[in-house]
Symmetry: C2
Subunit: 412 residues, 2 copies
């Protein structure tokens, strides 16, 4: 079993470009502070894996695995790699790092997720994000392709399950407000000082503009600069680490299970494929059930919370059936009955998620697992959930529901 020794998230409210800093700066802060936090020396890191979506476009820099070596002179000589699957790049980096530990190639792995997105304006950034879809067919020449694509996902739910359009917009506003509310408790969340309640999220005005037919500004995850680093360790190393620090091995959270699937890259192909299928996003569902099975649990009733890839409120809405809280088509029950709230049946995104905490694309999957670590080890401060399952599900999605990486993080 691969254990998580700890980690560090930069303040997602920062604008590193305005600070005049290169992408190496958030990486370095995350790495240095992560090692301090887990009380490890850089020399004890065996291998380094970086998750990043598109630094080539945003920051004209590739080879980010090697860039991580700049954080500490003791990293010179160590193996490094960068991994990408659009907004699931962080999840892919965690899979690659944990595979190396399971293969017994190394005993410890530093995993870094990073994105610096505020180097360009919103239109340019929207175009860059289009490369996560089939750019030529789905994004080229279109303003904000992803709000369009995920708006269509919402539309598909409305049509397939006969949801009154006004009701669906209410659900979207509810989910947005919930994410902004949770974020207020997270001192690293980008929107922690923003105000966006359900009424405002429901309204369309100059502070909450419509971006695509189904998506307003409040329905979107943020454009965020940030980096997250965490240390994974083999069972053997973690046991030794526990002894050294006077704790028991079972106090150290682990990656209890994982899932990983890919749907066809175009949204129209996804929706055509799933027509007649129980789930709108069957491959997303499979990644979740794979993670449950590998963790040896039967479903969401054995979790304390879930950190889901709410890139838009339409994805947050879809998450309800995908994680198995309700059957598809009954998602509204979870909203109407308050199941997703901090004191509900299964809190959604205690951190605030991508809408509230922020979404530095390549860092998000790593941030989710770090939050899973914090939540299951009682270190989440004001956004701590108080349950007894000691398990959190994380779901990281790339493209329009294309790549899904799920983890069950927790103690055993």
């Amino acid at each position: 079993m691969v254990r998580i020794l700890g980690g560090y998230q930069t303040d997602f409210a920062r604008n590193w470009t305005r600070e005049g800093k290169h992408i190496v700066a958030p990486m370095k802060e995350a790495i240095t502070s992560c090692l301090e936090s887990v009380r490890m020396d850089a020399s004890e890191v065996d291998t380094i894996h970086v998750g990043n979506f598109a630094a080539e476009l945003y920051a004209m820099q590739g080879h980010l695995g090697a860039m991580a070596v700049e954080a500490d002179v003791k990293f010179r000589g160590k193996p490094t790699a960068r991994h990408e699957a659009a907004c699931a790049s962080g999840g892919i980096a965690l899979l690659a790092a944990s595979a190396e530990l399971e293969a017994k190639r190394y005993k410890t792995a530093l995993v870094v997720g990073v994105e610096q997105m505020k180097t360009v304006n919103a239109e340019q950034g929207g175009d860059y994000l289009g490369t996560a879809s089939w750019y030529e067919l789905e994004a080229k020449g279109k303003d904000f392709p992803f709000p369009r694509l995920f708006g269509q996902l919402g539309n598909e739910y409305v049509r397939r399950f006969d949801i009154p359009a006004e009701d669906y917009m209410d659900y979207q506003a509810y989910l947005a407000a919930l994410m902004f509310r949770n974020a207020r408790n997270n001192p690293r969340a980008q929107t922690r000082e923003w105000a966006m309640d359900r009424q405002h999220a429901r309204a369309e005005d100059k502070f909450n503009m419509r971006i695509s037919p189904e998506i307003k500004l409040s329905d979107c995850s943020q454009v965020t600069d940030g980096a997250v680093a965490l240390v994974l360790a083999s069972e053997e190393y973690a046991a030794e680490y526990a002894r050294k620090h006077g704790i028991t091995l079972s106090e150290i959270p682990a990656l209890l299970g994982w899932g990983h699937t890919t749907a066809p890259i175009q949204l129209t192909d996804k929706l055509a494929e799933s027509r007649g299928h129980k789930y709108v996003l069957p491959h997303g569902r499979t990644a979740v059930t794979q993670a449950y099975a590998r963790a040896g649990i039967s479903g969401p009733e054995q979790l304390d919370a879930y950190e889901y890839h709410d890139c838009f409120t339409t994805t947050a809405y879809a998450s309800i059936d995908l994680v198995g809280l309700t059957e598809p088509g009954e998602n509204q029950r979870a909203i109407e009955q308050g199941w997703l709230e901090m004191d509900g049946k299964l809190p959604l995104n205690p951190s605030g998620g991508l809408i509230g905490c922020g979404h530095p694309v390549g860092a998000t999957g790593v941030r989710q697992v770090l939050d899973g670590y914090k939540l299951t080890s009682g270190q989440a401060g004001d956004y701590q959930v108080h349950r007894k399952n000691n398990r959190v599900l994380t779901v990281n999605i790339g493209g329009s529901g294309t790549t899904t990486v799920a983890f069950v993080v927790g103690k055993r």
Copy 2:
């Protein structure tokens, strides 16, 4: 042990942009033909790993792991990932795929390396390649940063080992001509119909222009479009595969050993760090000795050939000490005594290498291992070496000697 079942390389002389084709086209050809070649159905592939350097820049497309799913409808739902370490992206993809097999997550892995580089002109392409170095410090605003950087590497050899400058230029011309000569025997090599002998490579004229102080056109690897796919399998799957196809398991080449290191990304830092060290590129040397050690061999005398990352003739020159053919500073002996030729002590790049065969950046590391497979299973046709060690070393390098991934491919 991870076995190699076979693979396929597209014709590196093709210009896919001129053919009006999207980057998915070479991927699809490589994947489909690879599966035909190994007589596997797409449904038998468990996981897909893509090596690619910078499709975001060259082809405005990210998420290439997911793009591989487009090659066959049976891939829908399967796990995919893209891996990057500049020109060592192919090597990194192979490491990630083989780690998953060693961790027993999957039994078979399809590894695809791809780059489409002829979408832009030479100057623009040179700038994009600059993102493999520290762009802002080493490449921004400079014409052809990599010929400059690798020219400086040559210069360092000249200074550190007191090589007469004229002699060094002769060695460069010899190595270039050798690569072009080998490529003539490779029906998939980009330059198979080009003429470039030693005399021409030594001369500077309008057909062989100077690009940087130490580098002429003939010293450079090519700008290439191409894709390579191969199938890796667990020992268990390979044994079953061998039975099914009436061969013995020991006839199927394997990844016998691997090495993986990272040097500081800036060339000036590399050279400062190695001052006083025996090797100019000590971390590159370590990756090679790691691969030897894991393969259980003592050095180059137990190889049949080596496929080395000759991005420039200066790297080909450095390869001689890095693989251990001579001590550093004595590299010229291998050249003067013909050791690197097809009938010499240890042939360098029977395929023609990056200079002769071509260098579609993210595909190169996969192409090298596929050539290792062909050479050790007697399938290299006119560039077959006839030896008895049944082992080939491959060395894939990203940046200015930054990331090194080495494999010993062979039978056991």
